[in-house]
Amino acid sequence: MQSVHIVSAYDEELKYLSKRIAAMGGHAERMVEQAITALVNADPGLAQKVIRDDVVLDEGQREIDDKAIVIIAKRQPMATDLREIVGAIRISADIERVGDLGKNVAKRVVAVTDGRQPTSLFRGLEALADLALTQLKEVLDVYASRSVENIGFVRDRDDQIDAMYTSLFRELLTYMMEDPRNITPCTHLLFCAKNIERIGDHATNIAETIYYIVTGDQMAAERPKGDKTDKIVLPSAVPAK
């Protein structure tokens, strides 16, 4: 935890920043969760709620930016404190993006669920969302506990998310080839999958920022790329069914 400063108001300001980050994180987690639920259950009401909730995150980010700038100007922070403040700015930006991606998923609910789709279409997406949300939750838990020793799990899970995304991409392509009527919902679902995959990436970014805040070093640069969708092509002939 942070060391104690002579001016206790300074401690409180730093604490306030991390509390706001946690609140934003919780809000973003909830938004993504609800967006997926809205998509799977074809619930436009819930989707509307998610879209409205995004404002809270935008506000949160602006507030953290303002507060951070004021602290830097007033307290001339050094070392850990400075990293803590700069980290807060970066993390809040990442969380705000997560919220935007969740909102984008929610926006597609009406288009995807227009005409009832089979549940098998959503099963893969749910599994992908579970992975990404677990990633986000664990990263934010590390932000709370500051135990960066075993932050390696983030990279592992990122690989899993990428592999799952690649698999989902293939699956959706197959559905489109089977029946042209699937193209509209499947294209939207592809974007949803991409959004969720991006959420995983933002979570990884946050993990790197936390590592930097706590240790003062950057995390090792190698970041394996498991996303192979850039190489997937359709077979030229439609396979005989």
Partner: protein
């Protein structure tokens, strides 16, 4: 006889003890009586009567019992006041967290540590419980707008858990607050299970049912007088009922697992013994498929925290899959390795087959319920589509990890990493 003797002895002891306790009073009485006798020249009878009176007073039941009861009550009252909050918290079975005005955790009981990993005294509570409703609850209680409040709080990942959380201040002006979590997961899960069961299982059960009812119709109609066809159809029907029974068993064990989301801490499992007994229990299957199971175990103790029956099921499912789907490879290797240090310390169990392997695009998905790489092959091997999803569920509860590596044509390797704690 011996009883009575012993009783007499204890009585004698009691009398001596009482005389000893009253020795000063008795001695003073004697002296007083003797002095009076000496001065006044009273008759010896009076003296004897006085002595008898003194003795009787000494022997009559004393008030010491009443005294000790009062003492005990006094000790108890002061004990309740001095009772440490820590002991009280430890005695509560539900997760309980005590925190101060700045939402910093002061104390959390063992149940809280078991339920929410990664909390420690000194941590800010609102950083761990980030859900909007929890934030509102903490803000409300800390700002003093409400004395106590209750919200429903759900954690979806890694396993779904639902709590009814109550927050309130402790005592008068202690500046301490308490959060108590009441687990509601079970009720919630029963609801979900019903929905899930209808969604997933009804479809899976309908296929064998349709085939059975089709054959019954045929047996009653066109195949009525054909014994050869009848035997064949009855065999198929038996297979189908077997499939339905297996499916129900798997569904039940999956839902049992979902009922108790996290493991009781403290039990240790000997992996060597567990895996040996799994291999023994698969004897009939290996003879039938002609697969040889090879062992490659590291030396030394292989104890991990966990539940034996559940880990048995994990390795049973994995080995059974390896024998069935990797049958063409002719052998399956089970290897156990140990990592001693680092954050990844623990035991790795790898089950490797040399069969056709799993295409890459299926690997991330095969632990999903009812996901099948090859529907036809799964049906002939009597698969239910739930085996790996049970494995994954159990491993999540054990904080363990399943990783799958496979190359088409070269077989597949399923590795289980069990953390040493």
């Amino acid at each position: 006889m011996a009883d009575i003797g012993a009783e007499r002895q204890t009585m004698a002891q009691a009398v001596t003890a009482r005389l000893w306790n009253g020795r000063w009073l008795l001695a003073a009485g004697f002296v007083a009586v003797l002095a009076v006798y000496g001065f006044a020249g009273m008759s010896a009878y009076v003296v004897l009567a006085a002595l008898a009176l003194l003795l009787a007073a000494a022997l009559l039941p004393s008030g010491s019992a009443r005294h000790s009861a009062e003492d005990a009550a006094a000790i108890e009252a002061s004990g309740l006041q001095r009772l440490s909050g820590e002991y009280l918290a430890a005695a509560v079975a539900d997760p309980l967290i005590i925190f101060d005005r700045t939402a910093t955790i002061v104390h959390a009981n063992a149940a809280a540590f078991a339920a929410f990993g990664g909390i420690a005294p000194g941590m800010t509570l609102s950083l761990k419980f980030r859900a909007p409703e929890m934030q509102a609850l903490l803000d409300g209680v800390l700002s003093g707008t409400v004395a106590s409040d209750v919200v429903d709080y759900t954690e979806k990942l890694p396993v779904e858990r639902a709590y009814r959380v109550s927050a309130s201040s402790v005592g008068h002006a202690t500046d301490l607050y308490v959060l108590v979590f009441k687990d509601q997961s079970e009720a919630r899960r029963i609801d979900r299970m019903r929905a899930d069961f209808i969604a997933n299982a009804s479809h899976e059960l309908r296929t064998p049912l349709a085939s059975i009812s089709g054959f019954i119709e045929t047996l009653r109609g066109p195949a009525r007088g054909d014994p050869a066809a009848r035997d064949q159809f009855l065999q198929i029907m038996q297979n189908q009922t077997g499939r339905m029974a297996r499916l129900i068993d798997d569904l039940l064990s999956l839902s049992r697992l979902e009922m108790k989301p996290y493991l009781k801490p403290g039990t240790e499992v000997d992996l060597r013994q567990t895996i040996d007994s799994v291999i023994d229990s698969l004897g009939p299957l290996t003879r039938e498929t002609g697969v040889v199971i090879e062992r490659d175990f590291v030396e030394g103790p292989l104890d991990v925290p966990g539940d034996r029956d559940e880990l048995f099921q994990v390795f049973e499912n994995l080995l059974e899959n390896a024998c069935k789907y990797g049958q063409s490879g002719g052998r399956v290797t089970v290897s156990i390795a140990r990592t001693e240090t680092g954050p990844e310390a623990g035991i790795d169990v790898t089950i490797r087959d040399y069969g056709p392997g799993i295409p890459e695009e299926h690997i991330p998905r095969i632990t999903e319920r009812f996901y099948r790489v090859d529907v036809e092959n799964s049906r002939t091997q009597k698969g239910t589509g739930l085996g790996l999803s049970i494995v994954k569920h159990i491993l999540t509860r054990h904080n363990a990890r399943l990783s799958i590596k496979s190359e088409v044509g070269k077989g597949a390797a399923f590795s289980v990493h069990l953390p040493a704690r």
